[in-house]
């Protein structure tokens, strides 16, 4: 206890164990994609839950982000007489960064929490054990459909966020900042490259995996009644939010560093 080296060692060891367990959990969840039976109904239900029911939250945050971005960048660029770059800045920041990150953080709060709570409750009330006794693999039944739905739903949500975010910028640009509508849109399209959007959508798929994985994992390993489920829910949201930002950095390096 008193030896600082031993304490550091313990922390490192337990961190390694957690990472290893998480990796095995993820691999097992993915491996069931290749082995029947497949639960198409459960997958569709989760897809609707994530993609459709997250639309209002994601849309609102995207529009407001685009609006704020236009306002702030206008103030900044006005100092250099470069107001014309507003459309450019808005579309690049939204498609590359803010769309994927903000949409994913919102979904992490919604979906990560609900997965952890639902699966955690099933764990502490023996429902996961019951699945095993009823000839059903709980990983295949609970985790795999959710992972797949997360990976597919997030790119869709981010595409919506991209469009609405740019629209939010355009709204402020034309109504408040005095841009001409046609030239604002032309500036937007001129600067936009396919890679900007594609990299954002690829990020979204990774974030979708991270969110659903952390939600399932925290719920699956929860212990000890209502309190344990509450703790699992909190750590699912906190961990997936941090991981989203960390992976955002790593993926940006991969896509755009040279």
């Amino acid at each position: 206890m008193l030896n600082p080296v031993a304490a550091i060692g313990r922390v490192v060891l337990s961190a390694c164990r957690v990472v290893g367990e998480l990796a095995l959990f993820a691999l097992e969840g993915l491996s069931h994609l290749l082995r029947p039976p497949f639960y198409a109904r459960l997958f569709l239900r989760q897809l609707i839950e994530i993609a459709y029911f997250s639309l209002p939250v994601v849309s609102l945050t995207a529009i407001f982000t685009g609006m704020v971005l236009a306002l702030q960048s206008y103030t900044g660029f006005a100092r250099f007489n470069a107001e014309g770059a507003v459309a450019n800045v808005v579309v690049l920041s939204i498609t590359r960064e803010l769309g994927p990150v903000i949409a994913s953080l919102m979904v992490a709060g919604r979906i990560g929490a609900s997965f952890a709570a639902e699966i955690g409750t099933m764990r502490v009330t023996d429902q996961i054990d019951a699945l095993t006794t009823l000839s059903t693999n709980p990983m295949k039944y609970l985790v795999t459909p959710r992972l797949l739905a997360g990976v597919l739903a997030l790119p869709f949500l981010v595409l919506v966020a991209d469009i609405l975010g740019v629209m939010g910028g355009w709204l402020i640009g034309t109504t408040k900042l005095g841009f001409n509508s046609a030239s604002y849109l032309k500036a937007t399209m001129d600067f936009l490259e396919v890679m900007d959007v594609v990299s954002g959508l690829a990020k979204a798929a990774v974030f979708g995996f991270v969110i659903t994985l952390m939600g399932c994992w925290c719920g699956y390993n929860s212990r000890g009644g209502a309190q344990g489920v509450g703790a699992a829910t909190t750590s699912a949201v906190v961990a997936s939010s941090i991981l989203i930002l960390a992976f955002d950095y790593i993926l940006t390096e991969m896509f755009f560093a040279r």
Binding site: T125, D126, Q127, D129, A130, T133, S135
Partner: protein, 258 residues
């Protein structure tokens, strides 16, 4: 009994949770086609023993044989096939609250594709009738049922797939005396009609005598007595008799705090 292979044979089964040794060398033979009742104080490890046999908890030491084959050393596929023929009633019911009652009851039949979804409702109604529930209960959600009704739905789910081995963890707690007797009759009937082996945990001595051919008493992590269930209360073993009669004085000292 010598020469006949028992349906389930436990030898030296041990399990500790942290410092706490719950099972400490359990030896038990369970005869095929008979009812076995496991008695023991609250927290003595009865549920843990059953979960070890079901493969939900991995014991620290010891062997578990079903039909003479060591199930702990079995490959996963065979273990799953064995589980297909085992039914389990969980102490708290462990019903899936995301599914209506009829889907809960027919869950295993649907998972094993022994029945179509169209026919499952009728089948569920049939099994629900056996546990004294109306067919209309099938359309309710488990959360809408009383505790005793949930127990009976759990029972229906455990027997619906007509298993070879059935575990009942406190099948009659929470039921009124008449319904308790009906359920006991059902368990006896299942054993007779299906030729199943039933392992029940109960605290109710009248019920133990009705559903058990054999009885075993678990105390301090070991089986301290086995014998015919009919002699419970006058077995000659001071511990068992104290337990069966519910005496405060005797060899078993309850750990009460003032």
């Amino acid at each position: 009994m010598t020469g006949v292979i028992p349906k389930i044979r436990l030898r030296g089964l041990a399990k500790a949770f942290g410092e706490k040794r719950v099972l400490d060398g359990v030896d038990l033979d369970i005869r095929a086609g008979h009812g076995m009742v496991i008695l023991g104080g609250s927290g003595s490890g009865k549920s843990v023993t059953i979960k070890c046999i079901l493969g939900l908890i991995t014991p620290d030491a010891g062997t578990i044989e079903v039909d003479g084959r060591d199930i702990l050393a079995m490959p996963r596929r065979e273990r799953e096939e064995l589980n297909d023929r085992i039914g389990m009633l969980f102490q708290n019911g462990a019903l899936f609250d995301s599914l209506p009652v009829w889907e809960n009851v027919c869950f295993k039949l649907l998972a094993q594709k022994r029945i179509t979804r169209a026919k499952a409702r009728d089948k569920a109604a049939e099994v629900l009738a056996q546990v004294g529930l109306a067919a209309s209960v099938g359309d309710l959600s488990p959360a809408e049922l009383s505790g005793g009704m949930q127990k009976r739905v759990g029972l229906a789910r455990a027997i619906a797939a007509q298993p070879d081995i059935i575990f009942f963890d406190e099948p009659t707690t929470g039921l009124d005396p008449i319904m308790g007797a009906v359920i006991d009759g059902l368990i006896v009937d299942v054993v007779k009609r299906l030729g199943a082996t039933a392992v029940s945990i109960t605290h109710d001595m009248a019920s133990a005598r009705r559903i058990g051919d054999d009885a075993a008493m678990l105390h301090k992590g070991r089986i301290v007595w086995t014998g015919p269930a009919s002699v419970l209360g006058e077995s000659g073993n001071a511990m068992v008799d104290q337990f069966a009669r519910g005496d405060r004085e005797g060899p078993i000292q309850m750990e009460l705090r003032r």
